[in-house]
């Protein structure tokens, strides 16, 4: 009997890990989508991507908390603000420094830290709560899942599918794809590359706004929250390859699974003789898996990063 | 003994065979012309010799020692130097400082050696001197390389290559992009290096231009050696003439 009970426990945990990772990986894919797209089309690594998410999250929170908007309008406002932010950042900054990748990195990182500072100044460093679309939870078999997470999952997939349809069906989507493959060629056949970039930054901003909203209501809302999404995006690009949507989704699921495995699996408390302890696995390990994947790739196959070494 | 011996060298990029089982050698104090139409794999051969690309197969021997898998700097220090087709220089350093680099030893912890005399000598040999009141002393030019004409950049490259005391000098299309006057100047310079006993491999797509300079020619076409011999022999070779016509007169 006890053996059966243990098996049962293991099964419950395994089920929980599978369900959680399927759900959160969709969000991760959405988080990385805008970052991957900007990298794929313009070869720009936008270190402010995580900050975009944060701006989206704080906008929704602000509209709800201080302007007393309903959640749907707050969500829409977040998306609009992020879209504008993408366009402003591109035209006000990135366009002028794009030729030097290093300066672009420093500039976008400085932007992220600027946004962090602004949020600290206006909203303090406290962790805030962003109300979910739907509260409560549902039972899937033996696992309790917060309803909002299922909505986040659905919304993420919807956004990804819409994005895919746009890129492959719409005229401007195809133009973006063409530019991603060959910038000079696109310019030669009369594509206004600057317009394409503006569009990609706008879309990337919008996607970040959606992702930020759900990320905040799922994970956390504080002025430092931009770091994790940035690392996740970076890890997904490294694992999934340059600008590939399919690769990104596979990578998102891989990293999401590892993440959930680390955070939701039973943790082991390791203690020294003086009763100082640390937890092996568990909630303090959030975000560790993407870091580990990145470091592992760096050490094992640095030339494999992005499929090219330049 | 041959100074450089290349045996069955092969390199492909994806499906394209850039160099196909190529073998040739260079004798000391000889100038070998490596001739072929554009895309014949000449620059790839140089990149393979310099260790910038790794061959799929085959070996490269320098002074009887295999150097196939050596890194570039080691090959340079063994005595092979290369002049790039597109000038590689330090845009924010003066001509003097550009040339000085090859006079600095590779060792980090070593007795200080003054690189100045060597640098001035390299400048003098390649005609990068400034006019000074004292006619006998060479002063390397102090301007930035960006101010030099194409011919000057070629001299700069040559000066840096010579600064490594090479036993073998690889010249990649030394006349490309030069004016007529500059072509004459650079070919005089190469001739003077030859007269000093410098061994050279010279890559060019233009056979006529190098006929007077070279002792022997290897003709490449689509990565394969199609002929080898003195300039006269090669010019008479029917296969070369055919490739010559097909290549649009290389």
């Amino acid at each position: 009997m006890p053996l059966l009970k243990i098996m049962d426990q293991v099964f419950v945990i395994a089920e929980r890990i599978v369900i959680y990772s399927v759900l959160i990986s969709a969000l991760y894919a959405l988080v990385a989508l805008g970052f991957t797209m900007i990298f794929g089309v313009g070869r720009v690594l936008n270190l402010a991507h995580g900050a975009f998410l944060m701006v989206g999250a704080y906008t929704a929170w602000f509209a709800q908390q201080y302007l007393h908007w309903n959640l749907y309008s707050a969500f829409a406002l977040a998306v609009v603000v992020c879209t504008l932010l993408g366009i402003v950042l591109y035209h006000g900054l990135v366009r002028h420094v794009q030729r030097s990748p290093i300066v672009t990195l420093i500039a976008t990182l400085a932007c992220a830290l600027l946004i962090e500072e602004l949020i600290k100044i206006f909203f303090t460093t406290n962790t805030q709560l962003l109300a979910p679309f739907v509260s409560g939870s549902v039972e899937i078999h033996k696992t309790t899942v917060i309803t909002n997470r299922i909505i986040a999952f659905g919304a993420s997939w919807l956004a990804i599918l819409l994005f895919w349809l746009f890129v492959h069906r719409a005229r401007w989507g195809k133009v973006i794809l063409a530019t991603a493959q060959d910038q000079e060629g696109a310019a030669l056949v009369g594509i206004d590359v600057k317009k394409v970039y503006t569009l990609t930054w706008a879309i990337s901003g919008a996607l970040a706004g959606i992702a930020g909203f759900f990320f905040a209501s799922w994970v956390k809302l504080d002025p430092f929250m931009w770091r994790d999404p940035l690392i996740i995006s970076f890890a997904i690009v490294v694992v999934g390859g340059l600008g590939s949507l399919k690769g990104s989704i596979v990578a998102a699921y891989l990293i999401g699974f590892l993440e959930v495995l680390m955070t939701y699996s039973p943790s082991v408390r390791v203690c020294a003789a003086d009763f100082r302890c640390f937890e092996f696995l568990g909630s303090s390990w959030v975000g560790v898996s993407s870091l580990l994947v990145l470091i592992a790739i760096l050490f094992i196959k640095p030339e494999g990063l992005f499929g090219r070494t330049e | 003994m041959a100074l450089l011996r290349v045996e069955n060298l092969r390199k492909s990029f994806g499906g394209l065979m850039a160099v196909k089982d190529l073998s040739f050698h260079v004798e000391p104090q000889e100038i070998l012309g490596l001739i072929g139409p554009n895309g014949a794999g000449k620059s790839t051969v140089f990149n393979l010799i310099m260790g910038i690309l790794k061959p799929d197969r085959g070996q490269i021997f320098f002074k009887g020692q295999e150097i196939t898998h050596w890194p570039t700097y080691k090959i340079v220090n063994a005595g092979i130097a290369r002049v790039f087709q597109i000038a590689q220089y330090f845009p924010r350093k003066t001509v003097y400082e550009n040339v000085e680099i090859s006079a600095i030893p590779n060792e980090i912890f070593t007795r200080a050696i003054d690189p100045t005399p060597k640098t001035l000598q390299s400048c003098e040999r390649t005609g990068l001197c400034e006019h000074s009141s004292d006619e006998n002393r060479c002063i390397c030019r102090q301007e930035l390389p960006g101010m030099l004409p194409q011919g000057g950049l070629r001299r700069l490259e040559l000066a840096r290559a010579i600064g490594t005391d090479p036993e073998l000098l690889l010249l990649d299309e030394p006349f490309a992009g030069l004016s007529h006057a500059e072509v004459d100047e650079i070919s005089h310079l190469i001739a003077s290096l030859r007269d000093e006993g410098q061994t050279i491999i010279l890559v060019d797509h233009n056979m006529r231009g190098v006929m007077r300079l070279v002792d022997r020619i290897v003709v490449l076409c689509f990565g394969e050696k199609i002929a080898e011999g003195t300039p006269e022999e090669v010019a008479r070779n029917p296969q070369v003439q055919e490739a010559y016509l097909a290549g649009g007169g290389f």
Partner: protein, 351 residues
């Protein structure tokens, strides 16, 4: 005047001024400038690798952390004395630098920078997971102070005649300790940067292929620069732990400090070492200046307009300044001055 002489003169003047103003500083500013000197060491350490070779590191604070936590924890738990903790900390930083540099140097440009950004983030996780030892985000007190009582007591009798109380004496001790460190590091790095090794590092920044074609092992020089850089930054980190008498997360692992090193170097002129030192002072001194100004009241309105809001904007102002500099004055202060100098005095003969 050669470039080397010029840099040594500028370094000398800066160091003399920093040393001479010490006794006249109010207590608050003395602390600020002490930390500015430490930060100048970090900035110079960053500059010898990133400024000179063009391999921009976003995560140099990682080496501060490795050295600082090693020294601090060895002292806290194994009671190692300072003369043992500092060298061990520095060695660990160098080791980390070497371990990291070998795979990292195969990456070029922005990919290298991105990977360096990950290091401090990973280290921060580790510190938090091991919070029972490291104190996590709060830090852990009880590290042996750099200026120990026994040392101070011997000096106190001597200095009491000069009307210097013991707290002031303690401050003096720390201030001049970092002054010595900054001077030593400055002299060493200026010498290195203007030596033939410096010339090669600069050349690597401009054209790696050409350096390799001149028979120089680029990877070896980069790794060397990595080791020097990590050791300098690590030395600062280990000593700062003993000055703070604590391992502080915010001073050993803050991403902001990591980026501020870049700010300092860009302000002063990347790859100039002396410029980075100036930049270090400008960043830390500027932050304190903003805090001072924040206590003023403008004579507007009946109550006066308090400027206290400025205090919270200090970091913001610096990042905004960085962006402006990246746009308009990418060359930085020292090259700018040298340009003026050159116009006046004719060409400075290099070499």
């Amino acid at each position: 005047m050669s470039l080397r002489t010029l840099k040594f003169v500028l370094l000398g003047l800066t160091v003399i001024v920093a040393g001479a103003v010490g006794p006249f500083l109010p207590s608050k500013w003395m602390t600020t400038l002490m930390y500015a000197q430490l930060f100048a060491v970090y900035a110079m350490g960053w500059d010898i690798l990133s400024g000179m070779t063009g391999q921009i590191s976003f995560g140099h604070i990682f080496f501060v952390a490795v050295s600082g936590y090693t020294a601090g924890l060895l002292n806290l738990y194994l009671k190692w004395p300072i003369w043992a903790t500092v060298p061990t900390g520095v060695s660990m930083a160098v080791l980390a630098g070497l371990l990291f540099s070998v795979p990292a140097l195969r990456l070029r440009g922005p990919y290298f920078s991105l990977v360096t950004l990950i290091l401090p983030l990973a280290a921060a996780r580790l510190v938090i997971i091991l919070a029972d030892w490291t104190g996590g985000e709060l830090g852990k007190f009880g590290v042996t102070p750099l200026c120990q009582d026994s040392l101070l007591n011997t000096l106190e009798g001597l200095l009491s005649r000069l009307h210097i109380d013991s707290f002031r004496l303690y401050q003096y001790c720390n201030y001049y300790f970092f002054w010595v460190l900054m001077t030593a590091v400055g002299v060493g790095l200026v010498w290195l940067s203007t030596s033939r090794i410096g010339k090669i590092l600069e050349a690597i920044r401009e054209n790696e292929e050409a350096v390799e074609a001149a028979g120089i092992n680029v990877a070896k020089y980069k790794i060397f620069a990595f080791a020097v850089s990590a050791s300098v930054v690590g030395l600062g980190g280990a000593l700062s732990v003993h000055t703070n008498e604590a391992v502080f997360f915010n001073s050993l692992l803050s991403l902001t400090s990591s980026i501020e090193m870049i700010v300092a170097s860009v302000i002063g002129g990347m790859g100039t070492i002396v410029g980075a030192l100036w930049g270090g002072f400008l960043v830390r001194g500027g932050e304190q200046l903003i805090r001072e100004i924040a206590q003023w009241k403008l004579p507007i309105g009946a109550e006066g307009l308090a400027l206290s809001f400025l205090e919270r904007w200090a970091t913001f102002i610096f990042f905004a300044l960085l962006l402006v500099l990246l746009f308009f004055a990418r060359q930085g202060l020292l090259p700018l001055l040298m340009g003026l100098f050159r116009q006046r005095r004719g060409e400075i003969r290099r070499g």
